[in-house]
Symmetry: C2
Subunit: 393 residues, 2 copies
């Protein structure tokens, strides 16, 4: 549990010291609004529990054991991670039900995966090709473990996965035949549909994609293979996924934070998707004002992910952000709600939460305008370490 | 010098063990090609030395003390950093001539800056407004230091800086009058011109911008203020900047690595800007092939900066990359130079070096196909720490 040790603020201070103000934080800093976060956490957990579908939240979004443990306490049946190194970080923090949602094909990484399975036997990995099944089988046998495996389905994103149909059945059978592997079922994540704009279009697309994906389940069962897991979906489709017969759990990740991209996809009854509340913000400082009507802040490409839209000023009226390099953004002060001057702190809602979180080492956890805790982003980066066990680089 | 301690690979192994192969690295990994890097380092240093202009390389690009020390050994007269926290990291590594190229306006940060000046009296900061001069003066006086200051000029990017003219003279005079500050000269970085496509257009634009900026120098000297520093330019304009009378040093950063963006601006005599060699690569692994003619690699938004173009496969023939989310990219295998299969390692040249380096914790330093060293990216993130001296958050 060592990785969970967290810097509680001012633990040695007398109890009369009030928590530090958000406004006093040096910037750029990543803020987690605890009220919004807790509402998001509870809303998704309650909703899926009532529907009788499990929640298997994707931890690649937050990379933070503190958050994963809260998701587990709220009833999640396990977590997803994107890669082996993330799995290692979360298992070290005490979470044992971990699904690695991307095939692990490198032989050295496969060996490390088996080391992990020895200490956490529920760690599960996905496969999408026969050679990878054989490599996993060989490594699991050598390590003396029996590893749970899901077959990854390509339901239209063409990123990873095998096509539902004869190929998926053949692969499932190959897993089931492998003595050191245990066939658990399927994963069907429609990456290309999470951000379809418009609730009805998104619902229709996801229903079609999952109907196609569920072919794999039907064929596998017809071939005598029990399917205990059929893991799908995400924040954009959770309330579609939960009504589909044959789905066992939902892999939502972004719901804890929300971002500009998800807000833009539209909700069931509104143009803004507001099922979950914005809980993640970048705090920046206005550092320069070369031209009236504009102001420069200390948040650029290194402070907020730039893969889609830019971040947006939060609760500041008619003010827009444009990128101004690695370290800066420029705000256009068309009709600000309050005067903005050099030295002022500015909150931004981020465009894309996952890669933005990956830029920071810690969340500054806030209740209203006070910083009440600091949560380390333990698996930030989570890039393979250089000196792996066994001396390989 | 503690921050300089570097994991030398296999130091305890017998000398007969050959260095590990690049191909054996777990991915995604950041590679530094030592041959190309050393050529870039020497070429810029030699070129500017012959021109009689100093090199003050921008370390925000690499965030790595090992590289900064090599730049100093090659003759740089100091380094630039983008922010206080980077300055702290490089000074801890033994580099004392550090210019902070962005105004520091937050009062807590200003206090930390003065702590730094106490141990490294050559640390210099830029200013662009009178209130900031007064705040620096007050903090420097309180700390009992005399801090070198440059006036930052806005030569067209409208990001930071004061307009060259009466305002720049007034600001320079304000600095010169402040007893705890020492006026050193000006900074004039034309951020908007570094990537102008076409050598002639770029040259013409930079000459115009610096002619305008040098007004500030002429006016300051006419007002009796000695100008010892006039720091300008970058990788895109170094061979223009060096010929301009009144310029003292060039702030090039990307020249050590190069990237897709810089290659695309065009050189003096070719459509590819190839004054410096590509030395920075992301190593990835092909992990899945759902559709023939395409292949998925394990490098997405968390492995390469996405603010401009996508990364490009290197030396792979007619193969293009498209983003496929946080963890993946998809290669279109139009006419590859060699067969590409699941499990293969793929090198990418990155689109934008600075924010890509900021995603990684270390460079894997390669000589040909062998990994010969690992250099920590000590100032990665370099986000303000939570518990600053004095107990503030």
């Amino acid at each position: 549990m060592e990785q969970l040790s967290v810097t509680k603020l001012a633990p040695a201070e007398p109890a009369t010291v009030s928590p530090p103000a958000v406004e006093a934080l040096p910037t750029p800093a990543l803020l987690l609004d605890l009220d919004a976060f807790e509402q998001n956490l509870a809303k998704m957990a309650t909703f899926l529990r009532r529907k009788g579908v499990a929640l298997r939240p994707h931890a690649k979004t937050h990379k933070c054991p503190r958050i994963a443990l809260k998701q587990m306490e709220a009833g999640a049946e396990g977590i997803c991670v994107a890669k082996l190194t993330e799995a290692e970080a979360f298992i070290a923090a005490g979470i044992r039900q971990v699904l690695v949602t991307t095939p692990v094909v490198d032989l050295l990484q496969i060996r490390r995966l088996m080391t992990l399975v020895k200490s956490a036997p529920d760690v599960t990995v996905v496969v999408d090709n026969p050679a990878n099944v054989d490599a996993l089988e060989e490594a699991a046998a050598a390590a003396g473990v029996r590893m749970p495996v899901l077959v990854d389905l390509d339901c239209g994103a063409h990123r990873t996965g095998v096509a539902p149909g004869p190929a998926s059945t053949a692969l499932a059978q190959r897993v089931a035949r492998a003595r050191a592997l245990r066939f658990g079922g399927f994963q069907a994540y429609a990456a290309h549909l999470m951000h379809v704009v418009g609730y009805d279009d998104r619902r229709r697309s996801e229903l079609e994609a999952l109907d196609y994906a569920l072919t794999a389940r039907r064929l596998a069962e017809r071939a005598g293979l029990p399917v205990s897991v059929f893991s799908v979906g995400g924040t954009g489709t959770y309330d579609v996924d939960c009504d589909i017969d044959g789905v066992t759990d939902v892999q939502a990740g972004s719901y804890v934070f929300m971002d500009v991209m998800y807000r833009a996809i539209g909700g069931r009854a509104s143009s803004v998707y507001d099922d979950f509340k914005p809980a993640l913000f970048v705090l920046s400082t206005a550092v320069s004002q070369p031209v009236q009507g504009f102001i420069t802040i200390d948040a650029g490409y290194k402070a907020a992910a730039a893969d889609h839209q830019p971040p947006q000023p939060w609760n500041l009226g008619d003010v827009s952000y444009q990128w101004a390099g690695d370290e800066h953004g420029i705000l256009t002060l068309t009709n600000p709600r309050r005067e903005v001057r050099v030295g002022d702190k500015i909150r931004l809602i981020v465009s894309h939460c996952d890669p933005t979180v990956n830029l920071y080492d810690r969340f500054h956890v806030c209740r209203g305008d006070q910083v009440v805790d600091v949560w380390p982003i333990v698996a930030r980066g989570a890039l393979p370490v250089t000196a792996a066990p066994g001396g390989d680089v």
